[in-house]
């Protein structure tokens, strides 16, 4: 089942191509991350599917239906910034959102409690801190318990505790079967909560798939994955000489904490440990690191872009 299908979307601002022939599908029940640096076209993409911006070319559909306001009423969306009437209270702002969505007012207290704003529901929006504004915007998306949520930089302006709470909330929503589409430039965030990811750079879709697929594809061959390993011993110099002689390792570096290198993920950490032990060096530290999305992201966006 596909929640959102995007076909050949392009958006031009004069000569600038904010989006260039982007196509992908968001499967139902996923947390779908749209990842890209600032200005890569994430918000433009979401703006088009929410009918805020007009696509220059291409089409999209929600649940197989073409865009309409009835479709949008069933989606909770936070786009770019929290957009509320400054002179109105949190509660009154949510009343407007709920009325537009055609939902009852009974949800308002509940969603305000979810984001810890129930104590401040009568305060004017203009008195809110950035984090509170963001939380109110998230509360607004939850009105009417929609099956699809669209978050553009959801943790923007939140403190660490707030960020953790929102992440938990997103995971919880996903467990309940909701589909979440989330744009972010924070790789760590995407890595922690997303099941699927699309990487966009300068309006061009670089890669798309489940997080696992994206991590394991380097564009040319599948499963050419590598592992980052960190090791240390009493004599790191000797260790460096020993490890450096192995033909299958690469990117060997040494710092005060020890050595780090990458090797094919067919090599097990036990192989390394045994090899060193046999050569008379006892490892004081052995750490296997899955390659982070950040590394992948930089590989993808840093190597084959800007053409």
């Amino acid at each position: 089942m596909t929640v959102l299908q995007i076909d050949h979307l392009s958006k031009n601002y004069g000569a600038i191509k904010a989006l260039n022939n982007v196509s992908f599908a968001v499967p139902k029940g996923t947390v779908f991350g749209i990842l890209g640096p600032n200005g890569s076209g994430k918000t433009t993409l979401l703006g088009i599917v929410m009918d805020i911006l007009k696509a220059t070319e291409g089409t999209f559909s929600w649940d197989g239906q073409t865009a309409s306001n009835e479709v949008r009423k069933k989606i909770g969306t936070l786009l770019e910034t929290p957009n509320f009437y400054h002179y109105m209270s949190a509660e009154d702002n949510l009343k407007i959102a709920a009325s537009i969505k055609g939902r009852g007012m009974e949800d308002i207290d509940h969603v305000l409690r979810l984001v810890n704003l129930d104590q401040r529901k009568n305060s004017k929006f203009s008195t809110f801190s950035l984090g509170m504004k963001q939380r109110l915007a998230i509360a607004s998306t939850l009105l009417g318990d929609p099956d699809v949520l669209v978050f553009d930089e959801p943790t923007n302006g939140l403190d660490p505790a707030g960020i953790a709470e929102i992440r938990e909330l997103i995971k919880e929503l996903n467990k309940k079967g909701k589909t979440i589409i989330m744009a972010s430039h924070i790789l760590d965030e995407v890595e922690k909560v997303c099941t699927h990811v699309a990487i966009i750079q300068k309006g061009v879709l670089k890669t798309v798939g489940s997080v696992k697929e994206v991590m394991n594809t380097d564009g040319t061959s599948v499963n050419a994955g590598t592992t980052l390993i960190e090791i240390a011993a009493n004599d790191n110099e000797a260790l460096q000489n020993l490890i450096g002689s192995l033909h299958y390792i690469s990117d060997l570096t040494m710092d005060e904490n020890g050595l780090s290198f990458t090797c094919p993920d067919t090599i097990q950490s036990t192989d390394i440990n045994q090899y060193c032990f046999e050569k008379g060096i006892v490892l004081s530290r052995l750490n296997v690191k899955r390659k982070s999305l950040e590394t992948r992201f930089l590989e993808i966006t840093g190597t084959k872009s800007e053409k």
Binding site: L53, N69, E70, Y85, K101, S140
Partner: protein
């Protein structure tokens, strides 16, 4: 539309400027008319030559026209409020959020037009009540003769509101839009008067009466239908003034209203928000 208006009312009723401007307008309608009323009664009629222009403008049947004309001077207040309410949506980006939450672009702009219509209607009711009050206060007996001026007043009010909506859609920023609104009004009035002088000159030199062409401009068309009631001074100057071709001005005023409406609507529905 009822639901849309209910939501729009939620936005309006909490807005402080709404309360302030509404009170200013209500007081303003009565106060401006009272000033003209008492000036006419106490000053003009006491001047030796005052008899020429003194004709108690607030007695029936003139009261409808006089009140409509005089109230026209504070008609900027409701359109200014409308302009602020609309451009606020741009600065809060709530015009985006309303659409994201499920309004169509069409609905968003339609409800603004509807507000413009309602503001104009309320202003017209205010004028009707004030005209009645001063008419009865001046001791003449009730008559609906000249009540069509309330219709012209409504047209003028709605036309101002449509212009305010168009400027909001085109300019988007509150301060800038307010500035453009006032500058445009001022500039058009000056040009309109220059055009009237020109048409007077043409009339006196060649005898061709092309009408008060100043009234053919967008804002002045709706204005042109509402003059001060005829008095002896006005009658005396008639021979040198160009004729007011009411039907041309009326047709133009309607045409301009359609233009403002379709332009604003097209812009909002078709462009990026």
């Amino acid at each position: 539309m009822k639901e849309l208006l209910a939501i729009e009312w939620l936005k309006v009723k909490k807005y402080t400027a709404f309360k302030v401007l509404a009170i200013c307008f209500i007081i303003g309608v009565i106060a401006t008319n009272y000033i003209v009323y008492s000036f006419n009664k106490n000053v003009v009629s006491n001047v030796p030559a005052g008899g020429l222009i003194s004709f108690s403008p607030y007695s029936f049947d003139s009261t409808w026209q006089t009140t409509s004309y005089v109230t026209g001077f504070i008609l900027l207040l409701p359109s200014l409020l409308l302009l602020m309410l609309f451009t606020n949506e741009y600065s809060y980006k709530t015009h985006r959020q309303n659409i994201i939450d499920g309004w169509s672009r069409q609905q968003f702009i339609d409800v603004k037009f509807m507000m413009g219509f309602i503001f104009a209607l309320i202003a017209t009711v205010m004028v009707a009540l004030t005209a009645l009050l001063f008419g009865l206060g001046s001791g003449t007996s009730f008559s609906i003769k000249g009540i069509e001026y309330l219709g012209y007043f409504f047209m003028k009010a709605f036309s101002y509101n449509l212009i305010a909506i168009l400027i909001s859609v085109l300019i988007k920023r509150t301060g800038f839009a307010t500035g453009v609104f006032f500058i445009y009004l001022g500039a058009e009035n000056i040009i309109s008067q220059m055009l009237d002088v020109l048409s007077m000159k043409i009339k006196s030199e060649s005898g061709t009466d092309i009408g008060s062409i100043g009234d053919y401009l967008p804002m002045n068309a709706a204005d042109g239908l509402l003059g001060f009631p005829n008095n002896s001074l006005k009658t005396m100057s008639k021979s040198i003034m160009p004729t007011d071709y009411t039907w041309i001005v009326f047709a133009l005023a309607i045409a301009y209203m359609f233009l403002f409406y379709f332009w604003a609507k097209r812009k909002f529905v078709q462009s990026d928000l």
